[in-house]
Symmetry: C2
Subunit: 310 residues, 2 copies
């Protein structure tokens, strides 16, 4: 019986393979593209598996996504039907995401881009925003990562709201739900954080029509997926002043191509998909534990719902 591992980055694949081989001695652990006996493969641990690759394993019991999202797996047009997909969500992942969200919401709130420009010009310019208690922030997407990020923002003192497809309750966070909850949520949100899963419904959701429902001068932090954002609509909203700033960790094309207008835009902070990463060291333990639990029980708490898309 074997476990195969794949990431588009060969070095990363090698790292994960070594880590999982050490943690799962009862399995042969191989790079997916080098699997010697496809019929022996029971688990595929993947980030962006190539199209059609997973269909080569007839005895596959589960696919393990190396992340909280499964959109990169569902993108496979030849994905074997009915094979459960296990999401990888660990304390490190939620911890890193809440740090990223707290950092960038605070940066927007305290107008760091303007302060950095003032320093670059050698200008002593005291910009004094209201306290966070008077700043209305909102998190779209209240899964593990979104709920934890919203809680952290509320703990920092922000007037925090959240929005999700279905109703949620989070202490200290005003929760909105569904299509009818979206407009009131957006109307009150000065700093918008996107942590939605990528599904057909949420693709392109960050568009001109949504930006127009935010208060003028609002800002955006996108740590969901690149395909949530209509890039040209963002550029237009920044140009018109409808949005004041955007911090983006994810892009339609990654790495963000050289010469892309985001790189040099004064209203855009680019971070290279580092908001929250699973590293083999701690992530390996979660993956190994999930594989063992699934083998034993036929299910795990972090099982994704392929029909729902997350």
């Amino acid at each position: 019986m074997s476990v195969v591992v794949h990431s588009p980055d060969a070095a990363e694949t090698a790292e994960w393979r070594a880590r999982l081989a050490a943690l799962l001695p009862e399995y042969t652990v191989e790079p997916m593209l080098e699997a010697r006996r496809p019929e022996a493969v029971r688990y595929a641990v993947v980030w962006q598996p190539g199209n059609g690759q997973l269909a080569r394993f007839p005895g596959l019991r589960a696919i393990v996504s190396l992340g909280a999202g499964i959109d990169h797996v569902l993108a496979d047009t030849a994905l074997p039907a009915g094979v459960p997909i296990i999401r990888t969500v660990g304390r490190d992942l939620t911890q890193r995401m809440r740090e990223y969200v707290a950092l960038h919401v605070l940066r927007h709130h305290r107008e760091m881009p303007a302060l950095a420009a003032a320093q670059a010009a050698g200008r002593w310019e005291q910009i004094v925003p209201p306290p966070a208690t008077a700043r209305r922030v909102g998190v779209m997407g209240l899964g593990n990562l979104g709920a934890e990020a919203a809680r952290s923002l509320a703990a920092l003192g922000f007037d925090t709201a959240g929005w999700a497809r279905s109703p949620r309750e989070i202490e200290g966070v005003r929760c909105f739900a569904g299509a009818e909850g979206l407009s009131p949520f957006l109307a009150r949100t000065e700093i918008l954080v996107c942590l939605l899963p990528l599904t057909p419904e949420t693709r392109d959701i960050l568009n001109a029509e949504l930006f127009a429902r935010l208060p003028r001068g609002a800002s955006l932090v996108n740590a969901g997926r690149g395909a949530h954002l209509v890039e040209d609509d963002l550029l237009a909203a920044l140009a018109s002043g409808q949005l004041s700033h955007a911090t983006l960790d994810v892009f339609r094309q990654e790495p963000l191509p050289p010469g892309h207008p985001f790189w040099a835009h004064p209203g855009v902070t680019v971070t290279p998909h580092i908001a929250s990463m699973i590293d083999p060291e701690t992530g390996g333990r979660i993956v190994a534990a999930n594989i063992r639990a699934f083998e034993r029980d036929g299910t795990v708490p972090d099982l994704a719902d392929a029909a729902r898309g997350y």
Copy 2:
């Protein structure tokens, strides 16, 4: 009976005067330098009063510092002896400071200066720091502002310690005290936050000898006072790599003079003394309430200890 108001900034003096006049109708509220009947002055509400000014008021019952620190009052060489000094510490002040500290500690932790340089160069460079749980941060000074900042860092997941002159207990924060506690505190601190009061003992405390006791590559956030920092020692520590970055909100001379090496230093983030400000709107209410309470009871909880210096 009158209350006099003074800030080196005339517009600010006028704002405070208007606000306090509205809140304290039982007093005449005047700019300190224009007090018509010095013998009628009961309270002086000041930020950096000129030397010798406060000695002109024989009936002064208390001095109100427009801030948490009283060093700017004690700097008066003709300060009338025995007049109590009331510090102004409100929820907005602690809220703003904990935001500032959280923002800048997260910026250092997540290597935002390096990420910003990569963006400026159009470089997709994934820098992945450990989660905050594996990052050791330390706050020097555990008064109202420091204790609250340390609590916020711990809540964000940081491995947080604190240091103060005398022993303190703060849940979730490992507290060190006194001269013998300083070395172990520094030895474990990767990101050091200074929120000390300025006293003869803490003047110049951020110097080469202290930097040498931090782990190599540590960083500094100074939101205390400019005189805590020996500027040349910081420049040397950045040049040698002993320190990796410094974020400074306070300076020996403010505004930071044009041409000062901090402005263009890639290892220094300059913010123009905006970490935590008291504005007349909410601060006025605190000052008015403190004056009324002092008039009634002869004391207030935020009374400073002039002998101790804070």
